[in-house]
Every structure is written in C-alpha cells, then in structure tokens.
Symmetry: C2
Subunit: 197 residues, 2 copies
C-alpha cells in the first residue's frame, strides 16, 4: 500500500492527454480485518462524470486477472469501455494509448495504480499494465462481450514500441503473452474509426 492509500475522498480527474479518460480516487476503509472499498458505485460516480452511457445497452461483464511481478499485459483496445482497478494490496504501472482516429491518436497516459484508484477507459483506447508488486489481482468491468472470433476487430499496439515513450518499470524482464509480443508498432496500427467504436 502507498502513503496515501486510506480514506481518500471520492473524486475524479479528467485525463487531458486522452479525451474521455477518467481517474477516480476511491475511499478505502481500513480496520483490524483488512480493508473495504466501494470499487464502483453507480449512484455516486455517475454524478461525478462516470458516463451513464456505459449502461445504455444493458450489457455487463466483470473480468479478473491475477498476475505475478513483471507480468505485462497489453496494449489492447476493444469496442467497449472499461472501468479498471486493483482488487488487492498490489500495484501496477498502468499505460493507455489513444488508438481512435483523430487529433489525439497516439497520445499516451501512464500512472501507478493501487486499490485506491479506478480508471475509466473509453472504447478505442488501448489498455495495458506491468505488475510492480509480487502479484496483483486486477479487476475490471466492461459493457460488451469478448469473443475469440472477434479478435481481428480489436486494435493492438506493441508495448515495447519506443515511439510510445512509456517508462515501463522493467521492460527487459517483462513476462508477456506470445500474442502481445507480436503486436504492431504505433506507426503500423490501423486506427479505431467511428464505425468501429
């Protein structure tokens, strides 16, 4: 856990680099047992700016991945929105790359997240992270359904592309999937078009 982990006030910041991206401070309540947090609370977070449109189609999926230190997953953009967060005492370096056609294509944002942060990632923005702690439980909500057959319709960019300028913690020892190793450089990525997102 970080210095400023417990009892933050629920708050939101717009990420200037990537339009539509939001970073939430989440209150984490500690006691003799451990801690508790409202990781997502629609009634409190929609008034702060969490898009009501996330729920427009009534679709919902909650994914959880568990990863060892140095594991790096990403960077993946799909035609759905993501609300991502850490579900244990771990920490990740999160990185996002805007792959939507337009003025912000290629813009990057990166920040360290622990359980006291929640990140809203709009569809068409590539999502990835490297694990800084011994392991991490990473949990996220999405509003459409993944399918292996649809993978050709998703967009990916190579985490190791120096053009992104991401300060990965330990990119040499990054433990990645074969798929993630093979993704294109930013200059070769086909942007997400309005029709795709």
């Amino acid at each position: 856990t970080t210095d400023n982990f417990f009892e933050k006030t629920l708050a939101v910041r717009e990420i200037a680099e990537i339009p539509g991206m939001l970073e939430f401070d989440l209150p984490v309540h500690g006691d003799n047992r451990g801690w508790f947090k409202e990781n997502f609370q629609k009634e409190k977070m929609v008034p702060l700016g969490f898009p009501e449109s996330f729920f427009a189609e009534g679709k919902l999926q909650n994914n959880v991945s568990f990863s060892r230190k140095n594991v790096l997953r990403g960077l993946h953009a799909e035609p759905w929105d993501k609300y991502i967060s850490v579900a244990d005492n771990g920490r990740v370096l999160g990185a996002w790359v805007d792959l939507r056609e337009g003025a912000s294509f290629g813009h990057v944002y990166q920040t360290v997240i622990d359980a006291s942060k929640g990140i809203f990632v709009p569809r068409g923005v590539a999502n990835g992270f490297q694990v800084l702690s011994d392991f991490v439980s990473y949990s996220y909500l999405v509003n459409d359904y993944w399918a292996l057959e649809l993978k050709p319709k998703y967009a990916f960019v190579n985490y190791a592309d120096p053009a992104l300028g991401i300060d990965w913690e330990d990119v040499v020892n990054a433990e990645v999937s074969a798929a993630d190793e093979g993704h294109p450089l930013l200059e070769d990525v086909t942007a997400f078009t309005r029709e795709m997102v």
Copy 2:
C-alpha cells in the same frame, strides 16, 4: 489454488437448502502470466439461471474487501442481491443463513470458495465468510446502495451461534468487527418480511 481450479466448464447448481441461491463454476484460464477469468458475464450467465431481475432497477455497486487469515465477516442480510466471488489465489469458507420469513428460515449452506466459484445470494439471506488463506481479495456485485443510516433495516445473525451449526475453520481465533460480535442469536432475529425484501 485447489486441485480442480483451472478450466472448469461454466455451470450452475441450485442450492437446495436456500431457495434462489446459486453456485456457479467459473472457467479460470492459466498461462505463463498467471490467470484470467470472466468473473461475471451476463450474456452467458442469465441463460444459465442468473436472475435477470438483478438488473431490473439499473442499480450497480461493486465492493471489494481485503482480509487477513482467520478474519471472519458476517453474517449480514440486506435488501439487495449479491453475487460474490474470490478475486485472487485465496480461499474462504463461505456460509449463508436464510433469514427470510417462511419455511426455509434458519436454513444454512456452507462451502469453501476460491476464484473458480461464484455465488448468487438472494436478498434476505445472510452472507459471511472466514479466510482460510494468508489473505484474500473478496469481490461482489450488489444491486442497491448501502448507507450507514439504513443499517437498522438490515438483518444480522451472530456467526458464533451454535444453533447455526456452521463448521467455521477456527472460530476461536476469528478476527471480527465489534459490530459482528454483537449480532443476535438466530432465535432472536427478526425475519426479513416480504415488505423488507
């Protein structure tokens, strides 16, 4: 992780003791990085029996608690449904007590859960668990909003009541909250009425 942790087929069982309670097997996919699971997937799980009514009012909250070994939380019944699960490599002994007025009042179900299980707990059924692993991340979805002022409208039963017959792992060393220590015995519980749930 348990023997039978990876690559289960998504499946559901009705819990005979407690009407409306469901136990899901969740496929967990392991690889060089750790594992990944669809913890909740509406399109696949509603056809299997996850109640569509969970979403009727369009409310959504996702809670995460992180607890050390022997921590025991519960037993709490509130006027909302819960879909509970483990989000890391931990294990808990889960226990549920039906506090709804009627023939199943006082019925108990208990089982060990790890990340490969998901439990649907109908409103009015008290929920609790003791941590079996060194720590655990415990994540759940609910369809209405908690408030401290509403606590008098929730129902609680004392985890240590021998009448429940729950085989807690180590009830003597259970690390609990002051509130949970003070909850009534089953015989003193005011049942959830149809108007409350």
